[in-house]
Symmetry: C2
Subunit: 283 residues, 2 copies
């Protein structure tokens, strides 16, 4: 793998860097971003937080809009922001170019259906390939101190990935996650296309199903949700998750916020609390 | 004037609102954004800070990327972000659609040349019309407690407008401003088109010329500049401003920052200091 630095911006005393690399898992060139706190030496390594974005996003939205770098510099956390799907002219996309499927909408699954399975392997990309690519950069990361977070589709991805790989992640948090994609219009469209009609194959990518079927490892979970979110509750099913977690004695925190919507203005308003949450478990 | 609320997002406990209105000065519909701190009552009015953006920007860049709302909520400051030019299908644009002239590049001047003078009156729009539109919204603003700031082309605009209208503004600050547009390629192109070939008419819109000709009223001025800015020093002429200010005993502070570039990552890194700077003079 040859990973190339494509840009660097000094920010808050640290560095925001974007890299491109050739992904074997996704069969295409991919871009990701990293924030490295300033005043870093090799002897001074930091824990890392992966960020998974929502529909239509790239690695850029979180770094530009969330305000997370400011807090990450203060706490000493490396941020890693991934893209949301394979990319490129040769990558199959929704025939109608809808925003909720195909490019920008990988849903963090391993597709099993044609033509998607050649590229849409975002679960393996996030869990296995990207951490190896990051490791090869020799950033000052404490390799065993990693957490994961995300927004909307990326909140879904973070929850599923963390609950299925709890040895890899110390904690997980999500803003406005798609909690029960098997029951939402977004999820049904994506899973039917990527995974086929057998809905049993969908459950491994559904936070509610993982908890209900006792397949979700326990780790610290923080969820924040606005009650003026234009996709709440229909696409997100936050209440279903709350009920299933209670019924199965699965501990998690869901904070409802009056007046907040689905936008990055909501994320920016509470990102500090999320980074502080992860920080507790990354010591 | 009928001003319409087109969106509202709760952010940091306050509200980010976008409005559209019909501008008489610019002969077109315009959009602007306001941040109003939370827990506001009519008896609890706040000072206001205008923000003027740089080339290619709209009202959105600052609100989404600067992190300013977070600080404005903490200090209790209303933010007002304007667009950077007249807008619409009927508005004349650079024939080559260049980023540095025409749409998105009004340079905060009153154009005197055809076809620009029908719409490109951004100086009057910012100084006179927009404050009237804001006043009619009955926001909890302390009308006599107003400052102004901006970035790049908007830093130029903020400096020129404040130095020529010091009774309207308590203080001015700029990130990476175009300090001497009469001497920069950006400024020469814009001023030739908007103002014509008589360079004497340009000087009223040039910070260095205003100070050199004793036409700049004294008020608190803060400027921040990164030394890895891709437009520094050629388009920005920061050192010329520094020399002219010293030669004319015009007090201002220019902070140079090692490693920072021209992007919003630089603005976000120091926006807190700028709001705190203005806050001192808005009490």
């Amino acid at each position: 793998m040859s990973t190339k630095l494509i840009s660097e911006n000094k920010a808050f005393g640290g560095y925001h860097r974007r890299y491109s690399h050739s992904s074997k898992v996704l069969n295409c060139a991919m871009t990701f971003a990293v924030f490295i706190p300033g005043n870093t030496t090799e002897a001074n390594a930091y824990p890392a937080l992966y960020w998974l974005s929502g529909l239509t996003c790239t690695d850029e939205n979180f770094m530009q809009k969330s305000g997370a770098m400011n807090v990450a510099q203060q706490l000493g956390i490396i941020l890693i922001a991934a893209d949301t799907s394979p990319r490129g002219e040769n990558i199959p996309d929704d025939p109608e170019k809808a925003y909720d499927f195909g490019l920008g909408a990988g849903f963090y699954v391993n597709a099993t259906q044609d033509p998607w399975q050649q590229n849409y392997q975002m679960y393996d990309y996030i869990v296995h390939e990207l951490p190896k690519v990051i490791a090869e950069l020799n950033l000052p990361i404490q390799a065993n101190k990693v957490s994961i977070a995300g927004h909307s589709m990326g909140g879904h991805g973070a929850l599923v990935i963390a609950m299925r790989n709890s040895k890899k992640y110390k904690s997980v948090s999500a803003f406005s996650p798609i909690c029960n994609p098997c029951a939402s219009a977004w999820g049904k469209k994506a899973f039917t296309n990527y995974l086929g009609n057998n809905t049993d194959t969908w459950k491994q990518y559904d936070t509610c199903e993982l908890i209900a079927n006792n397949l979700a490892a326990k780790l610290p979970v923080l969820i924040d949700q606005g009650d003026k979110d234009e996709f709440f509750p229909k696409q997100l099913n936050t209440e279903t998750l709350n009920e299933i977690a209670q019924a199965n004695n699965y501990p998690l925190t869901i904070n409802m916020h009056s007046g907040y919507d689905h936008s990055y203005y909501f994320i920016a308003s509470f990102i500090k609390q999320h980074l502080q949450f992860h920080w507790q478990f990354l010591q």
